[in-house]
Amino acid sequence: MTTVARSLPKAAPRPLALRRPKRITGFWSWFTTVDHKKIGILYGATALLFFVVAGVEALLIRLQLAGPNGTVLTAAQYNTMFTMHGTTMVFLVGMPLAVAFGNYFIPLQIGARDVAFPRLNMFGYWVVLFGGLFIYSSFFLGGAPNGGWFGYTPLTSTPISGGALPGQGPNFWCVGIVLLGIGSTTSAINFIVTILNMRAPGMTLMRMPVFTWMMTVVAFLTVFAMPIITAAMIMVFFDRNYGTLFFVASKGGDPLLYQHLFWLFGHPEVYILILPGMGIVSEVLPVFSRKPLFGYSVVIFSGIAIGFMGWGVWAHHMFATGLGPVAISAFGLSTMLIAIPTGVKIFNWLGTVYGGAVRLTTAMLFSLGFIAMFTLGGLSGVLHSIVPADTQQTDTYFVVAHFHYVLFGGLVFGIFSGFYYWWPKIFGRMLNETIGKWNFWIMLVGFNLTFFPMHILGLTGMPRRTYRYPSGYGWDTMNMLETIGAFIIALGTLIFLVNLIFSLRRGQVAGNDPWDGRSLEWSIPSPPPAYNFAEIPVVEARDDWWHRKYTEDSEGRLVRLPSGGADDQADTASEPAGEAVGASVATATATDVALRDTSGATPAPVDDHTDGHGIHLPSPSYYPLVLAAGLPCLGYAAVFREIWWVVPGLVFLLFGMFAWGLEPSVDEEG
């Protein structure tokens, strides 16, 4: 074939309609930013907002249940509250908080300047935000979701005319979950590509920090789990609105199919929620024990094993549905087996702390709290693999106790640990340790007061998802204690939020490396400049930053290296060589004050020593916002079945897509 090579000059990129946003500081820059750090902060702020909302919902539930025959909520309101509490905590708190830390710290931990797809990153944030607002708009637009966060059919899939669930709630819920699934899938794909393709030279996979590793596993789980729930949501939506028969038992449909699809998503989802917490704990414990993580590779491979085995245990949520002895035995066994890699991790964490020079900072306390509470939750989880016991416990408060021990005692404690550990890096100021310790102990007491009695209530038969209970069953006292505990948790959260705000204004300046950290994020200024690394680091070891600071003398004792090792960071140079173990925090020096970019102003003209050019950072863009704005419009079109909503939806979608496609990721003229 002849080659007709015509050299067409590549046309200069023409803006489709909107002028490229230039601002990278100030209020409006937050709408167009593509900086992974700012997007991480947006995710974090949004998730904390929803955390407060979900907390208020939980408090209303607890007020209703404080005494027998509660009158705070009606049955319908109660259904709404526990549905939205669960949905919010899973999709709008747990997942976004993990994505927040992932966004901020994955590039920093692997030595990259941004994620692989900065605009897609921002798109994912907008979709999650709009998805959350979309679901919550249901409160004003025809009834909030009320079928539980699991949304079992046929309750949710029966049309309103069938009288099963009043209002538009399940419609909003189906569409909202699909939107949130789109958001989390894009961020998961982004994380995987970033981690596989953008690690600094020398940062092999087995040198990666454990948090980044766990986020890798989480991202894969997200990519494979979200499409299944999306498919299930489409079936429920069509059953409810267009007369399909997927879950209509009277026409031969199988409501259990929904449970299989939901839990095939739902169980990996459990690990999507807990693995980031495990990753954070695996970062915090070594730093505050001044020891490397005990059994690094075992921790990594346990995480991967959990990721794989998490796909083979879903039916343990369905032991009471009559699956038959073979299926039940198999899933009971696989559930017992998955306790092994989890238990391995717990022993690794204990091994890390054992014999270490432990500093009981707030971050460390929350991590230790994580281990203790998660172990309790794990033990009650193993009980559920014993099918006869599980059959007894199904739909009682024992299950509620179990999953709050793993998700609140696990996930939330892990995330709080992450806040106290990484906040100084993000905002350049420490969180107050005194307030922090109050925060931890109040939360720990409140948490156990709230959820421990649920074990006993469950074993004595108190059913979950019921909006009131009669007196005389011996449940009154413990329910009252739980309600008091819930308010103590709320107090702890309030103290936490006060600490955040206090720190932003008056917190002690942190310096680059306040904890004497081990991973690369502590080698750069706090807060990091827009370009992260003035020079892309060359990684030579696991815990590379630690090895640039310390070496061992002939007797195996730690000795601080005189130069600190890093080429462009002189902060440790001023400290005496051979300083003893337990060195004080590295203090900020003139060097990092000069490097610090608190104003977030234009990327400083630092030479990229690798190629002699300036650092090209991706430019801000409107189009992620435009594109994402189309999705809730289409959502409203689906929920209300009003075709005119499709028009703005498609306009936003198509305009956003084409303009995005034609816009270069880096503005050449800028």
Binding site: M1, T3, V4, A5, R6, L8, K10, A11, G111, A112, R113, D114, A116, F117, L120, T185, A188, I189, N190, V193, L196, N197, M198, R199, A200, P201, G202, T204, L205, V223, F224, P227, I228, T230, A231, A232, F238, Y242, G243, T244, L245, F246, K251, G252, G253, D254, L257, E535, I536, V538, V539, H609, T610, D611, H616, P618, F658, L662, S665, V666
Partner: protein
């Protein structure tokens, strides 16, 4: 990590610093360009999306006690075979389009990419015809489980094809404005990945739904 030659010209990939001892410059890179890797990940995700619907169809295919038309009553295998063949041929034209743009032969690229889109549109036309035929024979989404699972599964696939057609026509339009050059062939390649995937899914659907005997 395999040390495949780094073909990614994209921004933000750290290049090796000129320091010694020089670590393997590819140790931080999988060897697959970012955008292509992302597309593979999306497609793997999409596999499970289709998998859920295909599994549902298989579960509901043989349910006893169903009323209304059965697959045997409505399927027109020869007709669907022809449209399936046309869709498969569109994969061939997609390959030719990619080869053309990689050579810098933009005229042929536009011919082949348009042919691909037209083949896809023909398939969609066939699907619309088939759907109307089935409704005429009394099969709807709410008739029986076969109807529900068939229409949703093939409808979702049709939506995928439709998105693919819009994508291909957009590439054609960009090429008309000379905005696609040899250097952009990765954009075409990624669209091609999507298109081939949609074809492969149809092979599975056609085999499982139309050809597997009851």
């Amino acid at each position: 990590m395999t040390a495949i030659e780094q073909s990614n010209a994209g921004d933000l990939v750290p290049s090796p610093a000129g320091q010694d001892p020089a670590p393997d410059p590819h140790s931080g890179h999988s060897g697959v360009p970012n955008a292509k890797l992302a597309m593979w990940l999306f497609l793997s995700s999409d596999c499970l999306f289709f998998g859920a619907f295909i599994a549902t169809y298989l579960l509901y295919r043989d349910r006893p006690g169903q009323t209304g038309p059965t697959p045997q009553d409505v399927y027109n295998i020869p007709f669907t075979s022809v449209t399936s063949f046309i869709l498969l041929m569109s994969s061939l034209t997609m390959v030719l389009a990619l080869a053309a743009v990689q050579r810098g032969d933009y005229r042929r690229f536009r011919v082949w990419i348009m042919a691909t889109a037209l083949f896809g549109a023909t398939f969609i036309g066939g699907q619309i015809f088939e759907f109307t035929e089935f409704t005429r024979k009394g099969l709807n989404v709410d008739t029986n489980l076969f109807g529900s699972s068939f229409f949703i599964l093939t409808g979702i696939h049709g939506t995928h094809v439709l998105i693919g057609i819009i994508w291909l026509v957009s590439l054609w339009g960009l090429s008309m404005q000379s905005r696609i050059s040899q250097g952009d062939s990765e954009r075409v390649e990624i669209a091609g990945l999507y298109w081939h995937f949609v074809d492969v899914v149809w092979i599975v659907i056609f085999t499982v739904i139309y050809l597997l005997p009851k």
